[in-house]
Symmetry: C2
Subunit: 128 residues, 2 copies
DNA sequence: TCCCAAGCTTACTTTTTTGTAAGTACTTCC
DNA sequence: GGAAGTACTTACAAAAAAGTAAGCTTGGGA
């Protein structure tokens, strides 16, 4: 329960460690969403692109590369034309995807709280 | 369990919605770490800065502003000199901080998996 | 008077991320 | 031959994020 109890390489609060590196691969604009999209089932590149709103082909390809390198997803290419590639979560990837979906659900369920908090903050700032 | 079952504003997979906005405030380089740092107890600015390795004063101040605006943290300023300011998680903030610490712990505990996956990926790429 | 403390802010620079658009490969079909 | 399909890649540009360093505030103490 306390990240600082982990060895140096595993402590996300320390900048120069592998855990921080991996954290930054998933806890960013696209990483978590791509992982989350794959939780339901294996998907093709275009299917991921369509599910993750706003992601460009460039960012999707880049994100998939990074996630594959970390061992979070597995890429299967079929020898057919047109090209057919499938992406699947690995065990590690599934564990992280579950956590991200839980995070998305929590944020999504409480979105009104955020909206009203922002309004309160903005109006208080305006009057100061 | 399925984010697409949420109303539009609450579905993180849709780009133009409040949930995505809030997600991007926490699931980024510094947001989750700052939230996670505050889970143990209320902290002053300098204490957060010291716990979150690698964060600059500029990025810490900026991140705290964003998190406060979203209603995830509360700032208490004391009328003393030198200035004394404390930051605390709100209820929402705590719910998110718990999820981030869980994520950090998972990543930290399995850091060897990532390291070896990366080696495998890199050596396979070199031989291709 | 000067220095110190903590919590920022500000101006400018650098780095990173993201966007845009075109291109590639290769088979199949018209 | 051209068009279509899919999964990227590439080159360049723009935007965003982050870094760096100096500065400000104000009371208290030497």
């Amino acid at each position: 329960m306390d990240p600082s109890a982990l060895p140096t390489a595993g402590n996300c609060f320390i900048a120069a460690c592998k855990a921080r590196e991996v954290l930054n691969h998933v806890s960013n604009r696209w990483g978590g969403l791509v992982l989350g999209a794959l939780l339901e089932r294996n998907l093709r590149y275009s299917e991921i692109r369509d599910r993750v709103g706003g992601i460009s082909e460039k960012m999707l390809a880049q994100t998939l590369d990074v996630l594959e390198r970390d061992g979070l997803i597995a890429r299967t290419s079929y020898p057919v034309v047109p090209p057919r590639v499938e992406y699947a979560l690995t065990e590690s990837g599934r564990a992280l995807a579950e956590r991200f979906i839980d995070l998305f659900m929590w944020i999504g369920t409480n979105v009104e709280t955020f909206a009203s908090a922002q309004q309160r903050y903005d109006s208080q700032r305006d009057s100061a």
